[in-house]
C-alpha cells in the first residue's frame, strides 16, 4: 500500500503547474471568473496547453494524448481549477466516450482537435422535460438514410456558445418499449443551419444556454454508436470516467485565504472565536473527500474500483456538501460585507466569496444531481432494492 503519486504523475503535476503559473495570466483568470464561457484569452491558453499536450494526458499518443494514467487527468483538473484556467473538461470527457464507442474515423476526426485545444464539445443531454430522468429526452432525430433531421430543444448546455460541437442525446424511436432503448447520440457541428443558441443566466451569473434545433441536417457519420444505442454511449461516458476525481488544491487555498483574512481582520474580535473551528471542520472534510477521491482514482486505474459504493461517487457527495458549507460559512465570516458585489470598494477578497456562494448551488445539481448519485450508490453500490 502506498499513497504517493508515481514519478510520472509527479512530473506531470510539476509540469502543468509550472506551465499554468507562467501562462494562465490575469486576462484568462478574468474570463474564467466572469463565468461567461471561454473567451479569446482562454482559447489561446487552451491552444498553448494543447501544443504542450496537457489537455488530454490519458489519451493514446496517436490521438494527441500522452498515454498517462487517469490520475494525471485528476491532476490536470485540479491544477486548472486552482489556477482559474479554462475548463475543457467536457470535450475531454466526451472524448473518453468516443475512445470507447466511436469509430476509428470519429476518433481521428475529433480527438486530436480536442487534445490540441482547437475544438471543444458541449454536453447536450438535458431538456426542459428531461432532467434527472434523462432517458425522457424528446429532441427527435428522424432517419433519412444518409442524414438525420433534428428537431427539438436542449437546456442548460453551458459552453455551447463557445464550443464547436454538440454531444447530443436524441430520440430516434418514439415507440421503443423502454424509453431508454429509443435514444441515439450524435456529434453535431454547432454551426449547422437551424441551430439557435439562446443565453440563459444562473442566479450566480453563469452563462448557460438553451439550444434549439429546427430541421437541422446531421450526416449519418456523426452518429456515435448504434442507432437507438444512445443509452449505452451515455453510460460509457459514466464508466469511462474512471477518474474518481477529487484533488482539492483550489478549495484548500480558499480555506487558507479565509483563515489569513480572519487572522488579519478579526484577531481581537471576540465574536470571531467560532471561526477557527468552523474552518478547520471544512478543511477536514475537504481533505478527507480529497483523499477518498484520489484513492478511488488510484484503485480505478488498478482496475479494482467499484464505480458505485466506494470511491469517486462517494467522494463527490462529501465534496459537494462541503463546498456548499464552505461558501456559506465564508459569507458568515465576512459578515455584512459579504453581500457586496465586487465593484464596491468595500468588497472583501475581491468579491470572490460572493461569486462562489452564488454559484455554489450549481455544484450539487450539475452532472447528475446529488439525489441521482445517492440513488445510484444506494441501489448499485449498496444493493438496496429499487422502487
Amino acid at each position: 500500500m502506498d499513497f504517493e503519486l508515481n514519478p510520472e504523475e509527479k512530473a506531470f503535476q510539476k509540469e502543468i503547474r509550472e506551465f499554468l503559473d507562467e501562462h494562465c495570466n490575469e486576462h484568462v483568470v478574468a474570463e474564467t471568473l466572469s463565468l461567461q464561457g471561454a473567451g479569446p484569452y482562454s482559447k489561446e491558453l487552451l491552444r498553448k496547453m494543447g501544443a504542450q499536450k496537457l489537455l488530454a494526458p490519458r489519451w493514446p499518443v496517436e490521438y494527441g494524448g500522452r498515454d498517462l494514467s487517469p490520475m494525471c487527468e485528476v491532476i490536470k483538473v485540479d491544477e486548472i481549477t486552482a489556477h482559474h484556467a479554462p475548463f475543457p473538461l467536457d470535450g475531454v470527457e466526451i472524448g473518453n466516450s468516443i475512445l470507447l464507442v466511436g469509430t476509428e474515423e470519429q476518433k481521428k476526426r475529433f480527438l486530436p482537435g480536442v487534445a490540441s485545444g482547437e475544438i471543444d464539445i458541449a454536453l447536450g443531454y438535458t431538456e426542459p422535460d428531461a432532467g434527472s430522468d434523462v432517458a425522457s429526452v424528446q429532441l427527435y432525430a428522424e432517419d433519412q438514410g444518409d442524414y438525420f433531421v433534428l428537431n427539438g430543444q436542449k437546456i442548460y448546455n453551458s459552453e455551447a456558445h463557445v464550443c464547436e460541437y454538440h454531444w447530443l442525446l436524441t430520440r430516434t424511436d418514439r415507440n421503443a418499449e423502454k424509453k431508454h432503448r429509443g435514444l441515439s447520440m450524435f456529434i453535431v457541428d454547432l454551426k449547422s443551419p437551424g441551430i439557435t443558441i439562446r443565453p440563459l443566466f444562473t442566479s450566480g451569473g453563469l452563462r448557460t444556454n438553451e439550444v434549439f434545433y429546427e430541421d437541422v441536417k446531421v450526416p449519418r457519420e456523426n452518429l456515435v454508436g448504434d442507432k437507438n444505442g444512445g443509452w449505452k454511449v451515455l453510460m460509457s461516458a459514466l464508466y469511462g470516467a474512471v477518474a474518481g476525481g477529487g484533488m482539492a488544491t483550489g478549495t484548500k487555498y480558499v480555506i487558507k485565504t479565509l483563515a489569513e483574512y480572519t487572522i488579519a481582520e478579526k484577531a481581537d474580535d471576540p465574536d470571531a472565536r467560532w471561526i477557527p473551528d468552523a474552518l478547520a471542520d471544512i478543511y477536514v472534510k475537504t481533505r478527507v473527500s480529497e483523499i477518498m477521491g484520489v484513492r478511488a482514482t488510484a484503485l480505478g486505474q488498478l482496475g479494482v474500483t467499484p464505480l458505485y459504493g466506494g470511491g469517486g461517487m462517494v467522494s463527490r457527495l462529501l465534496g459537494g456538501d462541503t463546498r456548499r458549507l464552505l461558501y456559506n460559512t465564508a459569507m458568515q465570516i465576512l459578515g455584512p460585507y459579504s453581500q457586496l458585489y465586487k465593484d464596491s470598494k468595500y468588497a472583501p477578497l475581491q468579491g470572490g466569496i460572493l461569486r462562489e456562494y452564488m454559484d455554489a448551488p450549481r455544484w450539487t445539481i450539475v452532472h447528475g444531481s446529488q439525489e441521482i448519485q445517492k440513488m445510484n450508490i444506494a441501489t448499485r453500490g449498496l444493493g438496496l432494492p429499487r422502487r
Binding site: 478547520a280 471542520d281 488498478l302 438496496l384
Partner: protein, 381 residues
C-alpha cells in the same frame, strides 16, 4: 499510488476476521462488559500465540517485524467485533512507545513480555480535567536518591485494572517556563506500593480507571525517553493512538453499515422492504460516505506512520473526521433500523455506545480541529 492491501495484509485480514468471528461473538462482548477483568485471558493468550501482540515489533525481540499499516488492518478487524481487552493499550500505547523511546535494556526487558502475552501495558496520561494537553499534567515525580517518587491522580486510564505496567506521565520540573517543559514518562510497575485503582463505570463497559499514585517509588532507569522532554513524545503517542483508534472505528462503522443495509433489505413495511424508500436509502448512503471517508483517511495516515513520514496533521484530520463519522453512522443506522435497534439486546447499541467512547479517546473532533486550525495559522489556546 496503490491503496490496495498487500497479499500479506489480505491474508492477515482474512485470518483475523475468521478468528475473531469465531472467538469474539457479541455474546462475549456483552459478557466481558460485566466481567471483572473485562477480557478473556484465554483469548488473550491465543492472540499472543497467533503473533498479534508482537506483530509490529522487530524479530530480535520475538516480534513479527510487520508495519504499523499491518497493525491498522488488524485494528480494523478488532473494531469490527468490538474486541474487549487491553490489546490497544498494550501494543499501541505501551509497546510502540517503548520501541520508539526505550533504551536497549528497556526494550529487551519489556518487549518480549508484551509479545508473549505476559505483560499488559497502559498509559496513565489524562488527569482531572480529562484533557490531552500538557498544562493538565499535575502529577509530580520528585527525584530522591536515584529514584523518583510519583504522586498524583490519573483519570480514564484504559485497562488500568488489569495492567502490569503503566507509562505514567508526570511533571519532573515545576520551575519550567512552559507547561510543555519538565514532563517525563515513567515505566511504573503496577504492583508498586502506593497505587490505588478504581474502576470507572462507562458506557462502553471498557473499565477505565481512576489511578491514584501516592508516593510511588520508581527507579531512575525507568524513565522512558528523555528527562523533562517527555511532552513532545507524549504528543506523538497521542497522535499515533488517534490514528490507530480511527482504524478500529472504521471497523465498527463498517459493521454498523452492513448491519443496517442487511436489515432494510429485509424489513417489510407498507408491503415493501423499507430499503426502497429514498429517505432510508439516503441514510445508508451517508453512512457509506462517513465510513469510506474515515477509512481512506485512516489508512493514509497509517501509511504515513509506517513509512516514517510526518503524521501530526493527518492524525488530526483523521481523528477529527472519524470521531464525528462514527457517531453519525450509528445514529443514522439506528434511525434506519427504527425501534428494534434501541432495545438493549440489539447489537446496534453496542456500537452506539462504543462510538461515543472512541470519539472521546485521544481527543474528540473538536480537540483535533484545534490542531487543524493551528495548521491554518490560527492561534488557538
Amino acid at each position: 499510488m496503490d491503496p490496495r492491501l498487500s497479499e500479506e495484509q489480505e491474508i492477515l485480514q482474512k485470518s483475523a476476521r475468521d478468528f475473531l468471528t469465531d472467538k469474539c461473538p457479541r455474546s462475549l462482548v456483552r459478557e466481558m462488559e460485566k466481567d471483572e477483568k473485562g477480557y478473556s485471558p484465554q483469548l488473550w493468550q491465543e492472540m499472543a500465540d497467533l503473533g498479534w501482540m508482537g506483530l509490529v515489533f522487530p524479530e530480535k525481540y520475538g516480534g513479527g517485524d510487520m508495519s504499523f499499516l499491518d497493525l491498522a488492518v488488524l485494528l480494523e478487524e478488532m473494531g469490527r467485533v468490538l474486541l474487549p481487552g487491553p490489546y490497544f493499550s498494550t501494543v499501541v500505547l505501551g509497546g510502540l512507545s517503548i520501541l520508539d523511546l526505550g533504551t536497549e535494556a528497556q526494550k529487551e526487558k519489556y518487549l518480549p513480555e508484551i509479545i508473549n502475552g505476559k505483560a499488559v501495558f497502559t498509559m496513565a496520561l489524562t488527569e482531572s480535567d480529562g484533557k490531552y494537553q500538557a498544562s493538565s499534567i499535575k502529577t509530580r515525580a520528585a527525584a530522591a536518591n536515584g529514584n523518583y517518587v510519583i504522586s498524583g491522580t490519573k483519570m480514564f486510564v484504559p485497562d488500568a485494572s488489569v495492567a502490569d505496567y503503566f507509562l505514567c506521565v508526570a511533571r519532573t520540573d515545576d520551575k519550567a517556563k512552559n507547561p510543555e517543559d519538565g514532563i517525563t514518562i515513567f515505566i511504573v510497575d503496577a504492583g508498586s506500593p502506593g497505587i490505588k485503582k478504581t474502576v470507572l463505570k462507562t458506557i462502553a463497559g471498557d473499565k477505565p480507571c481512576e489511578v491514584v499514585f501516592k508516593d510511588v517509588k520508581v527507579p531512575e532507569e525507568n524513565i522512558l525517553g528523555k528527562l523533562n522532554l517527555g511532552w513532545a513524545e507524549v504528543q506523538k503517542i497521542i497522535e499515533r493512538a488517534a490514528i490507530a483508534k480511527s482504524c478500529e472505528m472504521v471497523g465498527g462503522m463498517q459493521v454498523a453499515l452492513d448491519m443496517t443495509v442487511a436489515y432494510v433489505k429485509e424489513r417489510v413495511q407498507f408491503d415493501v422492504p423499507v430499503g426502497v424508500f429514498q429517505a432510508v436509502q439516503h441514510h445508508c448512503v451517508y453512512m457509506l460516505v462517513e465510513t469510506e471517508g474515515a477509512r481512506a483517511a485512516a489508512y493514509e495516515a497509517a501509511w504515513l506512520v509506517s513509512t516514517g513520514r510526518p503524521y501530526s496533521a493527518e492524525a488530526a484530520i483523521t481523528k477529527a473526521f472519524a470521531s464525528d463519522a462514527y457517531q453519525r453512522v450509528v445514529a443514522l443506522g439506528t434511525q434506519a433500523h427504527g425501534g428494534v435497534s434501541i432495545i438493549e439486546d440489539h447489537d446496534m447499541p453496542l456500537y452506539y455506545r462504543r462510538a461515543k467512547a472512541s470519539e472521546l479517546a485521544f481527543g474528540d473532533a473538536r480537540f483535533h480541529r484545534k490542531t487543524v486550525a493551528r495548521e491554518l495559522g490560527f492561534k488557538v489556546p
